[in-house]
């Protein structure tokens, strides 16, 4: 049994992956923006066989929330083995060319937020590994 965090859990690719993980009994913590859709995915994974399913609503552009979210996920799962980052938007290239504001927002959502999450995840999993080593 693995402990898996999925960010952007209502995206099609994340949901399909999560179903495969649930069938094998893995524990998952789901993060997404839309509360209703997130609850629907969480309930589905529980029926499909996931041993433990947690979730929370988060907009990944709230960077300050990344660390507390990771902490809650780790606490809920009792550690972290795998993280799947699957959030993102399909940016409208034409519209971005005409709007600085939109361009920056898209870069936050699809680029910087991922870097922020990965940096924190790397630190967290390295320290877990170090603890396990010692």
């Amino acid at each position: 049994m693995k402990r898996i965090l999925i960010v952007g859990a209502t995206s099609a690719i994340a949901e399909a992956t999560a179903r495969m993980l649930a069938t094998r009994g893995h524990a998952v913590y789901l993060v997404g923006r839309n509360e209703l859709r997130l609850a629907a995915v969480a309930a589905d994974l529980a029926v499909r066989g996931s041993s433990r399913v947690g979730s929370e609503v988060l907009d990944v552009n709230s960077y300050a929330e990344h660390e507390p979210m990771l902490h809650r996920a780790e606490t809920f799962l009792g550690g972290l083995d795998t993280v799947l980052i699957a959030h993102g938007t399909l940016s409208d290239q034409k519209a971005c060319e005409e709007s600085v504001e939109l361009t920056l927002r898209e870069m936050h959502t699809n680029g910087l937020s991922v870097i922020s999450l990965l940096t924190l995840v790397a630190a967290a999993t390295t320290s877990t590994a170090a603890r396990r080593h010692s």
Partner: protein, 452 residues
Amino acid sequence: MPPGVATLSEVPSGLVSSWGNLIRVPHALYNLRSRHDPFPRLAPGRTVVPYGNGRSYGDSCLNVGGGVVRTRALDRFIHFDRELGLLSCEAGVLLEEILRIVVPQGWFLPVVPGTAQVTVGGAIANDVHGKNHHRAGTFGCHVRQFELVRSDGTRLMCSPLENADWFGATIGGLGLTGVITWAELQLRSVAGPRLRVQKERFHDLESFFALSEQSDRDYEYTVAWIDCLGRGRHLGRGVMQRANHMRWGAEPARERREAPAAVRSIPFVPPVSLVNTASLRLFNTAYYHLEGRQSGETDEDYTGVLFPLDSIQHWNRIYGSRGFLQYQCVVPHSAARRAMGELLESIAVSGLGSFLAVLKRFGLAKSPGMLSFPMEGVTLALDFPNSGDAVRRLFDRLNSIVSAAGGRLYPAKDARMPGALFRSGYPRWKTFIRFIDPACSSSLWRRVMEGA
């Protein structure tokens, strides 16, 4: 134009067909992604019919000139009470997906049709039946509740106690009362995935009736495969297949199901039907003589017994580019012997039938839907390659036999029945009309309402 309202040209369109492959026609495509989605916003005058996995044979899931609401992406489970066997799921979940999850936990769907590749919404909207009708009635008998979403924005919870009239109209309601978004089903317990199967050959129609009555007493699943080329003293000869779920203790409980057998596929549509008189005679004679050979019992996985064709993907392609028609009727017991004899004789004379006809006695269970197909009596089903005029003439002949016997045809399998036959077979259609959503229609519905 206010934002958020798509013009017609903005709604994507695509080719839609049904299982019979008779036509492929452009439809406006609307997709539901979640059970919380609203009914799609349509241009005034535009209609839709819900479309699940496209296993209806004829035109009940088509809406030529209009659109379809695709529900297959509503494929999430909601809750499974493992103690009571209560399962809630979205309407686009396939029966196959349900069985894969519940069978290893000791549960089974109380009613399954001949394929597990249908959605829950489709199973309700066609009030499907199976080989255990004499014990369990129809699929709708085991639906505890469902949500119906209407084009005026209302969301109705329907059960035998709440909005019971909508419950009765929507079960077997051919998708015309609105869109079913999710449902709660009562499952039945089983010891495991295996069935104990027994086959018995019978030599004519009279022996079918005798054997059938006896089999229904001892077996949960009974169905007869008829050689539809048999005439004279061979008329109605066939093989009776009977099965029961294996009991507790007969096998290791809660065993994991073995990996399913490799799925084969018909990879392309051949230019002409591979089913013709020559191949048919060979197959039917061989089946009759080989299948009924041993009268012993065998233990088999449920998939091969209950869903024999599901292991061949796209088997419908075998009938070629003109597609095929299925004919399924039911006639009351009082007229069954005579009517079945006449039907089988007409089919044998025509030489147009496909491999095997299926014959089964329906039980006493009252169907819960206003337009449910099953009633007490005997049902006959078989496929015909679409040979145009010849098959149309045969259907006219079969229709008159069914009509004279006080029977009716199954809309889910139908592409040809005349309006008058529908209306005489389903006298409650006049009550049903009041429940139709003004934004819903289908090619079948317009056809059977012609001349009303």
